[in-house]
């Protein structure tokens, strides 16, 4: 009798219906670099925000909110104590240990050590909390880089990357496939043709083609990076750099490189310095990043007149190498400008964010004392860079996604929370 009852109960139970998985295909121009926690000069970088987590994230106002950290305490201007969330887990299920956090932070040029179950982070430069948003926490296991984010890398090669959500969430994206196309033009065309559901950082001229297409929605947001001409402080002296700053006015460059418009940088134009005659200055850039990069390089060449040298096309890897070693005259780049504290820290000698050959004690001192205005003046007095303008960030996404947006910091940073309308 009891067996019959059990059978009846089992027969009455029904298996929950399988809900169909949601896959988002993202178009990306250029080869995809293997995903890792370090900054990447490749479109695969957009996946870092879904696989890895930092201790804190930035909100739309540039303030920090806790992510992997459960608590932050400021010890002094150059050190912070962070407690880790007890429930934090890597994609293999292993808990996040303070030691993992220490090793991750060290790889971002931050000094860190474990103390009383928490992690103490120190910097030789002033250490705002915002800096911690750029250092993601990871560990390597069996040759694979693991993160604590909602997604993990299931497959990857130069042409595609498959990221899978660890825990299924109804009406949310389960899989993300990043598909590589040889050029931005082809990525745009394939997306329009329906072979991709999203295309981040699309050219402003191409965005018009998506307006009115019911399948897509255009996203716009202010940029956190400016387009800039970086001067090699290793090859060019201060006077030459000052002259370059005056010879390459941002509005003129912006007008030529961005016919559709680009928000100007909000500071005074440089005072006049004549560019002395000399050898032509070479201009390096990753031209396949988009037509705007090529136009910027041509605009720089034109404005320099006889001193405008050849334009050299680089790969993303070469670009990073040249930036670090200073083996260039002028380099088209997109340095961060938001939040402003981080923008200045890019040029602090002891800052973990410094990625290129530059050192100016006056700038360091102003930053350390928290005097932003003075830091900017000192920077422009010995300029390593000519900030041109802030191009709008544009993307297209599948119109079924209800709450897709760009940012606040990463391009598709909030993708894990996007909901799909069925």
């Amino acid at each position: 009798m009891r067996h019959l009852l059990l059978l009846a109960v089992l027969a009455g139970c029904s298996r929950p219906a399988e809900t169909s998985k949601v896959q988002l295909r993202i178009a990306a121009p250029g080869d995809l670099a293997p995903l890792g926690p370090q900054p990447l000069q490749s479109y695969s970088a957009i996946a870092q925000e879904w696989v890895y987590e930092p201790l804190v994230r930035l909100d739309a106002e540039g303030s920090t909110k806790l992510a992997l950290a459960s608590r932050l305490e400021r010890i002094d201007s150059k050190s912070i104590r962070a407690s880790i969330r007890a429930d934090a887990r890597f994609s293999d299920g292993s808990p996040v240990a303070p030691g993992d956090v220490v090793e991750s932070l060290k790889s971002f040029n931050l000094s860190a050590y474990e103390k009383d179950g928490a992690v103490v982070i120190e910097s030789e430069a002033v250490l705002p909390e915002t800096v911690l948003s750029r250092a993601v926490i990871s560990k390597t296991a069996s040759g694979t880089s693991l993160g604590t984010g909602p997604f993990f890398v299931a497959e990857q090669d130069a042409s595609h990357m498959l990221l899978r959500r660890k825990v299924h969430l109804p009406d949310h994206i389960d899989d993300v496939v990043i598909r590589s196309f040889p050029t931005p033009r082809e990525a745009f065309a394939r997306t329009l043709a329906g072979e991709a559901d999203a295309y981040p950082l699309i050219d402003s001229r191409q965005i018009e083609f998506f307006e009115g297409v019911p399948r897509f929605r255009v996203l716009r947001a202010p940029n956190t990076n400016a387009i800039a001409v970086v001067f090699s402080t290793r090859r060019l002296d201060r006077n030459t750099r000052l002259a370059l700053l005056a010879s390459l006015p941002g509005p003129d460059l912006a007008r030529m490189a961005y016919p559709n418009g680009c928000s100007p940088m909000q500071w005074e134009s440089a005072s006049f310095h004549s560019l002395p005659p000399g050898r032509p200055l070479n201009i390096v850039a990753v031209l396949k990043a988009g037509s705007h990069v090529e136009r910027m390089a041509l605009a720089v060449q034109r404005l320099l007149g006889p001193r405008g040298g050849d334009i050299e096309d680089l790969s993303y890897a070469d670009h990073q190498h040249r930036l670090t070693t200073g083996e260039f005259d002028l380099l088209i780049s997109t340095p961060i400008v938001w939040p402003q504290t981080d923008m200045l820290l890019l040029w602090h000698t002891k800052s973990p964010l410094l990625t290129q050959w530059y050192s100016n004690p006056r700038v360091d001192g102003a930053i350390d004392s928290g005097d932003t205005a003075r830091a900017m003046r000192e920077l422009m007095d010995d300029p390593p860079v000519d900030y041109v303008c802030l191009p709008e960030r544009l993307a297209v996404v599948d119109a079924r996604i209800k709450n897709a947006r760009i940012g606040p910091f990463g391009v598709f940073e909030t993708l894990a929370d996007w909901e799909i309308a069925r």
């Binding site: 040889p182 082809e186 043709a193 083609f209 009115g212 297409v213 399948r215 030529m256 136009r295 041509l298």
Partner: protein, 521 residues
């Protein structure tokens, strides 16, 4: 029905017919006018769209021509310059649509100029300006190869692959109204630029659209339709234009919901006004005709009242004369006159009682809720017995021929009896002594029939049509005001039946009552 009533009804019908015919004519004329208006407004929209398509076509054609002019100018200006390559590089800033221009001569390998074909190159080096058809490049960009000879430099040409991105943007920017857009097709009907977002995918995928076949028609010299269901699934009005060189087709479409909105509103407004006018005219016509009919009816009632008064005056006057004569006999005091006085008084009382009874019947309305089931066979026999004494005094036999089966009807027994007795008494009065009056019962389809036959003098044919009219008695004057047969008809009509008469002068008459059968239960 009285003659006046008949003419009144006829008048009402004629009036209604006139109003209906007038209204119909107005509606037809109005519909024709509205249709002409609709066709004209649609043609006007199409002409506007055609003009825009022509203008768009000229702009696109001039765009390509401008690129060629620019390329020629550059070829002339830069071909012999020392830093040509750098200057050509700089063209991306000033003329991005020109693409990557290259100067070529006989030593240049066509492999270095991919995708420009070698035959194009060869023609250009011979001094001919050439261009390829539209094609899609490896990066899915819309492209066209152009080569122009460098002026003054034989054997040198400037070649480029035009990036027609800007051309596509031009087409996308063409707008007409809120929802109008342009599409551009090559000679094969392939869409290469779309102002409608939902169709833009076809630019890249190469999918053929509804409009593609129309574009091919235009390319072959036929006229494409100017109104059709577009690839977006909605009805559109369209204007087409054809470019000769290159052989492209441009169509500017606008959904009819917008294109014809103004005319449709106007048509709807006019239609509403027309309907209102028609309705008002009909209402006024009906109102006026009602007034006329009411006036006629009132007039008829006065005439009827006049005839009643005439009849009553005449009959009562005769009764008064007889009573006066009788009173004079009584005044004489001669006992020998007493029997005559008594007989006269009895006869006049009986006549006046019947007179009052006739009017009493007129005042009694038929209430169908009081109807009861009645077997006409039994009913006829009952009426025969009631009329028997009167018939016996007149020396006339009364007989009833029942039907083989029961004839059930629903009726007001009293009123039906009054009607039947009226027919019987008329038949007895008309019959010579010794003849027979027969009540014959029968059934025809779903109708029961009760016929009263006499063998009297019959009724003149010219009187038959008005036999049931009020106050037109065929009997001797001084006996009736002529309400009997009209009352019979009123009663039978109220029972849902009808009464009719057939008569042969010299042989007799047959009055027949027909009532609908109503078997009990």
């Amino acid at each position: 029905m009285t003659e006046a009533g008949e003419s009144r009804n006829a008048f009402a019908r004629r009036l209604a017919l006139i109003v209906a015919v007038s209204g119909f004519l107005i509606a037809v004329l109005g519909g024709v006018a509205l249709e002409i208006l609709r066709v004209r407004s649609e043609r006007s929209s199409q002409e506007a769209l055609h003009a825009i398509a022509e203008q768009a076509g000229r702009r696109l054609g001039s765009y390509i021509a401008q690129q060629k002019v620019l390329l020629r100018a550059l070829a002339g200006a830069l071909a012999a310059e020392p830093d040509t390559n750098r200057k050509l590089q700089q063209l991306a800033l000033d003329a991005p649509s020109l693409g990557k221009v290259a100067f070529v001569d006989s030593r240049t390998s066509s492999a270095n100029l991919r995708p420009i074909k070698s035959e194009l190159l060869a023609q250009a080096l011979q001094g001919t300006e050439v261009s390829s058809p539209l094609y899609t490049s490896d990066s899915l960009a819309l492209a066209m190869d152009i080569c122009v000879p460098a002026p003054g430099l034989p054997g040198v040409a400037a070649c480029t692959t035009l990036d027609l991105f800007e051309l596509q943007r031009e087409v996308q920017h063409i707008r007409f109204g809120e929802t109008g857009f342009a599409l551009a097709f090559d000679a094969d009907g392939r869409l290469f630029a779309a102002g409608a977002g939902p169709l833009r995918q076809a630019v890249v995928s190469g999918e053929m659209l509804v409009e593609s076949s129309f574009a091919q028609k235009l390319a072959s010299g036929e006229d494409p339709p100017t109104r059709f269901k577009s690839s977006l699934g909605e009805e559109v009005v369209a204007g087409w234009a054809r470019l000769a060189n290159p052989a492209w087709a441009i169509v500017v479409e606008q959904p009819t919901s917008e294109a014809l909105r103004a005319s449709r509103l106007a048509l709807a407004g006019l239609g509403a006004i027309a309907l209102l006018a028609l309705g008002a005219a009909t209402a006024v016509g009906i109102s006026q005709s009602r007034k006329v009919l009411t006036a006629l009816e009132i007039e008829e009632r006065w005439r009827t009242a006049g005839r009643i008064a005439t009849g009553i005056t005449h009959d009562l006057g005769h009764r008064v004369a007889v009573l006066q004569a009788t009173a004079a006999l009584a005044d004489a005091g001669d006992p020998a006159y007493l029997p005559l006085v008594r007989d006269n008084l009895r006869e006049e009382v009986a006549t006046l009682k019947k007179f009052v009874a006739d009017f009493a019947d007129l005042s009694r309305n038929v209430d169908t809720s009081q109807f009861v089931p009645l077997d006409l066979n039994a009913f006829a026999d009952s009426v025969r017995r009631a009329a028997a004494p009167f018939a016996e005094r007149a020396g006339v036999q009364l007989a009833v021929a029942p039907s083989s089966a029961p004839l059930w009807v629903r009726a007001d027994r009293y009123l039906l009896e009054r009607a039947t007795l009226n027919l019987l008494s008329n038949a007895v009065e008309a019959s010579p002594s010794g003849s027979e009056v027969l009540v014959d019962l029968g059934q025809r389809d779903a109708v029961a029939t009760l016929s009263v036959r006499d063998q009297g003098q019959g009724i003149a044919p010219d009187r038959l049509p008005r036999i049931f009219d009020a106050f037109r008695s065929t009997k001797k004057t001084g006996a009736h005001v002529g309400m009997g047969l009209p009352n019979v008809r009123r009663i039978v009509d109220a029972h849902g039946g009808k009464v009719s008469v057939e008569s042969t002068p010299g042989k007799g008459s047959v009055f027949t009552i027909e009532l609908p059968l109503a078997p009990p239960g």
